[in-house]
Symmetry: C2
Subunit: 612 residues, 2 copies
């Protein structure tokens, strides 16, 4: 199906918006009136620009407060309409949106509305223009799609049809039954379909609409359900996004346009109109890759955590540190370490790495070069919206290209010295007894303007399921956090975002390592010279008030800085290392517990501010 | 009355919050549980810190989900309470907030609630502690103040009273009648009074409460009306602010604390408990002062606008430019010009400059040194929250210290050369025929974190009336704008704020100059070499569609870049100069019109982005 986007959904000048829509791959645009008014380009120039960019102008919008008004008012409206139709002719746009009236003088008279809209359509027809009449959710008298359709139907003019808008419909009803009336509208009388999602907020619908709309799949509406109804009528116009969003207004237009088009690609798949490569849900974390200008501090922390340096990349300055199934790469390559120590890449175990990459590419994820050096294995990798590189891996499957093949085992190389064997033996003993078993989750701070995009990306591209979004109080502002996971929890990524675009002071990424015995792991870490994040004593007094613990248990937590939480599924014990660069580690012992210790996050964040 | 503030209202660590509250001048604090848990200070150290800072600990909060629960649950609650009472003893806090239960197992049984709260109070009494029971607006069974009071009354225990919270009460009702029940509560049984205001939003009350509360006078609630009812009962505890606000959480704590205390000072005045110096409403704009590293570009614009350089400061590099009643100072003093050309000070005509300054000082405005140099006139001046210096002036009143006396007339000095006389004559002729008559308004961009503070400041300190807040679409984000004015509109200040803390790219301050003939003024400006901001042609096509104009009128506007608007009171024509540093000028002709051309602001902002 053709895809379109309203210019109001993107940031910048009209030229910037058009360029972004074209680059992302949209077929057309809706030109929002204010964007045209503020542009130094003439309508003819805009038309030419769109043509150059391969964009059709699918809609000009909006005309407001046209119908069901007294005769003097309507005469002025026709005069105004004639001006706009002339403009549209210059612009080369043949459909105009007319929103149901909110005018104080508008009357509750469907017959008058029909008659006046018919007159308007007759005028439009002279210009070769069609009127798409839409019910605003807050229209004065007309605020439901079926009401708008009855008025259009009664007017019975070939140049008059209706426009359906998912926000205006779904903000008023969550009952699928209310959508059944769409089947009564002939597809050819649905002149346009505007799509937006929104988070489920209980608030004034006008404010909700003007500030909080988002792209389909980013909110709580069943946009696909609505689209199915509309397609069933035979509608063959574009799927067009019209999103008023305070954050997108500030965000760079190009990434937003890509995010927007991705939402329509996923939507078309959902309603069965396209069949992109199927999602290949990752089944585990193959590795996390840290980049650092100086391997020393990170290596010291990994060593104290019980990791052993087991291999080195054949052609690059990258070490593999391993413990149980947890693998961490430490990369000191020049180009990757400009920003200091950070989490740069994640290896995801994939049942079908190439299929996963094809899926990602089809959904507009930037594909990374498959082969970095002539001798390297061909690896499928894409970039997430925050720039993190995602590698689709097949560790321990010799039949597939394997990232592990690029690494030379340093234990073998050192064999015979005795030292490597001893340290391997210690590492393995540690793994069994009190060590790290695997990577539990990865926590990534998202660019402020792209949090909604990140959730949609991880859901649609990787097939991970978004969990509930939670607010977390940092001493210097509220953060939001939302995890995405696979079904068995073997892949968990916690996405978080600060209170404001400037808010990136202490919000580090982190790698959470699973252990069966966090007390033993924490103790060993400390004994090996590692520094745990100190947790205030008051926190433990509160734990004592909230829960009953076995003798000595709380004292141990207090001594080590272990935090505690529980949910209906089980208990959670966790502690943190101090931060190195922009990264820290967490040791977690989850005995059935499903969350991420959000209740403890404010204490952790405050402690990190103190530690800095 | 004693003033207090909940630590949750301020940003930062507990130590930072306490310091800010003390510096602002609060008498006490409510310690919010999470702030204590996250603090490395022991309860004894917090107690000592508060004592050092001259702060009492008026409330510890909150305890939740205590009452009307099954016996096993209540036993756990009592155990938890005992821990918290021990903590409070260490902390030296004698009142604890208990919020009405939201627990899923809580039952709708007032007798059980009374009985359990009575038991809790008996335990508290052993520790010398009082329980203040408060109805949350979203409490499961108890969500109104009178319901909470009935439960407290029935329990009839000396250590059990109620806590009234303006948000929880006023978010549920705007009907003053609903407050009459407060009179039924004996003052000594109101153990605590928490105050917050909030903008009038139609949204889920829990979200409203957690993110949008603000200080009294910054929202839409009649907080003073509620306080009057409470004081009438004989309540003599503190007025305590409890404000959950996403922006204040990020803002520097010290200015926020000052803003907070100011709101309580104004509130006490409003309810007749204090009589600070009365507001002295300004009656006009004496001058606007620009600072600049290079007087050239600004002087060129002023000259082209028809201003004449009429005087120079005796001891400082400051020129006075004048036209009609519009006076602009251009200051090239080194210390003031680091940030480039900007609007640094405003002179406000005041019926009583000293009284105005006393008012400002009483309401915590930073008072500026009255005399800058030995020979200067003593001027009363304070700093606004955005740093703008406000001078209270008495131009043309010889009996009072006069800023004008610091300036030496350069026209007199040049007399006899003929040049000055001629230019004065031209200036005066211009003033009459087609010139600037006075400063219409000043537009100041506010620091993102202090927009609410700015409104309260201008209202309470200067006695200006806030107008409706409007959203303005900049191409790169939504701005908010709100004007404050005196009754006759002779003082108008438009306060605006960008979409995000980082958003200060194009949002310049500006000086709007009134003229009786904007066409003539604009034409003269251009003929004198001034550059007007170009306005896109599409804007004029839209004007033609919206309004009917006399022959040639629209063409003139189009030629000069004049914008047009109208409201119920009259018409508005205005145009803009290009920006110099961070300042531009506007020429406005308002024929009865009361607004600021907000409808045209998106076009102007887009044009300014293009011009940059």
């Amino acid at each position: 199906m053709r895809t379109s986007i309203a210019t109001v959904s993107l940031s910048g000048s009209l030229t910037e918006k058009l360029t972004a829509a074209s680059r992302a791959g949209f077929d057309g645009v809706e030109i929002f009136e204010n964007d045209l008014l503020a542009s130094p380009l003439t309508p003819e120039e805009i038309r030419a620009r769109c043509a150059d960019l391969g964009l059709t102008i699918d809609l000009y919008q909006p005309m407001r407060d046209i119908e069901a008004v007294p005769a003097d008012e309507f005469a002025r409206n026709l005069r105004r309409a004639r001006h706009k139709f002339e403009l549209m002719r210059r612009l080369g746009a043949d459909t105009v949106l007319v929103c149901s009236s909110v005018h104080p003088r508008a009357v509750d008279d469907d017959a008058l509305a029909s008659q006046q809209l018919g007159q308007l359509a007759a005028l439009a027809e002279d210009f070769g223009i069609r009127i798409a009449y839409e019910a605003l959710a807050w229209g004065r008298h007309v605020n439901t799609y079926d009401h708008a359709w009855r008025i259009v139907e009664a007017a019975d003019h070939p140049a008059l049809g209706t426009c359906l808008d998912s926000f205006h419909i779904l903000s008023r009803t969550a009952d699928p039954k209310d959508l059944e009336g769409i089947a009564d509208i002939p597809g050819e009388k649905i002149f346009f379909l505007q799509l937006a999602d929104a988070p489920l907020l209980a608030m004034d619908v006008l404010q909700w609409s003007r500030h909080y709309r988002c792209f389909p799949g980013q909110g709580g509406f069943d946009v696909a359900g609505l689209v199915r109804h509309v397609l069933h009528t035979g509608y063959d116009g574009p799927l067009s996004l019209e999103v008023f969003n305070d954050v997108f207004r500030q965000a760079e237009a190009c990434p937003t346009a890509v995010d927007a088009l991705r939402s329509l690609l996923v939507l078309q798949e959902e309603v069965g109109r396209t069949t992109p490569p199927a999602p290949v849900v990752p089944t585990g974390v193959a590795f996390a890759e840290l980049v650092t200008p100086d391997a020393g501090p990170v290596s010291a922390v990994l060593g104290a955590l019980g990791f052993t340096r087991t291999a080195r990349h054949r052609s690059k300055p990258v070490d593999l540190w391993q413990q149980g199934e947890a693998r961490i790469l430490v990369n000191t390559q020049g180009s990757a370490r400009r920003d200091g120590t950070g989490l740069a890449a994640i290896g995801l175990e994939s049942p079908d790495p190439t299929g996963a990459a094809h899926r990602a590419e089809a959904l507009l994820a930037p594909v990374l070069p498959r082969r970095r050096a002539p001798e390297d294995a061909t690896l499928d990798a894409v970039a997430a919206p925050d720039g993190t590189e995602l590698f689709f891996c097949a560790t321990d499957r010799p039949e597939l290209p394997n990232w592990r093949a690029d690494f030379t085992d340093t234990r073998k190389a050192e064999q015979g010295t005795g030292h490597a064997e001893r340290s391997t033996a210690v590492a393995e003993q540690g793994t069994r007894a009190r060590g790290v078993t695997r990577i539990d989750h990865l926590a990534l701070v998202q660019p402020w303007h792209h949090f909604d995009e990140a959730t949609l990306f991880h859901h649609s591209v990787l097939g991970l399921h978004p969990q509930e979004s939670v607010d977390v109080a940092d001493p210097y502002g509220l953060m939001r956090s939302r995890a995405v996971t696979n079904a068995d929890g073997s892949v968990r990524i916690a996405l978080s975002v600060g209170a404001a675009p400037t808010d990136d002071t202490v919000h580090a990424q982190h790698i959470a390592l699973a252990t069966d015995d966090v007390v033993a792991a924490a103790r060993r870490f400390r004994e090996s010279g590692g520094r745990l994040l100190p947790i205030p004593a008051n926190y433990y007094d509160d734990l004592a008030a909230r829960y009953e613990f076995a003798d000595g248990e709380l004292e141990t937590y207090r001594e080590l800085g272990i935090l505690y939480d529980r949910d209906a599924q089980g208990e959670f014990r966790h502690c943190y290392t101090v931060t190195v660069g922009r990264v820290f580690f967490e040791l977690v012992q989850r005995d059935g517990y499903r969350g991420y210790g959000a209740r403890n996050a404010p204490v952790r964040l405050a402690a990190q501010h103190i530690a800095q």
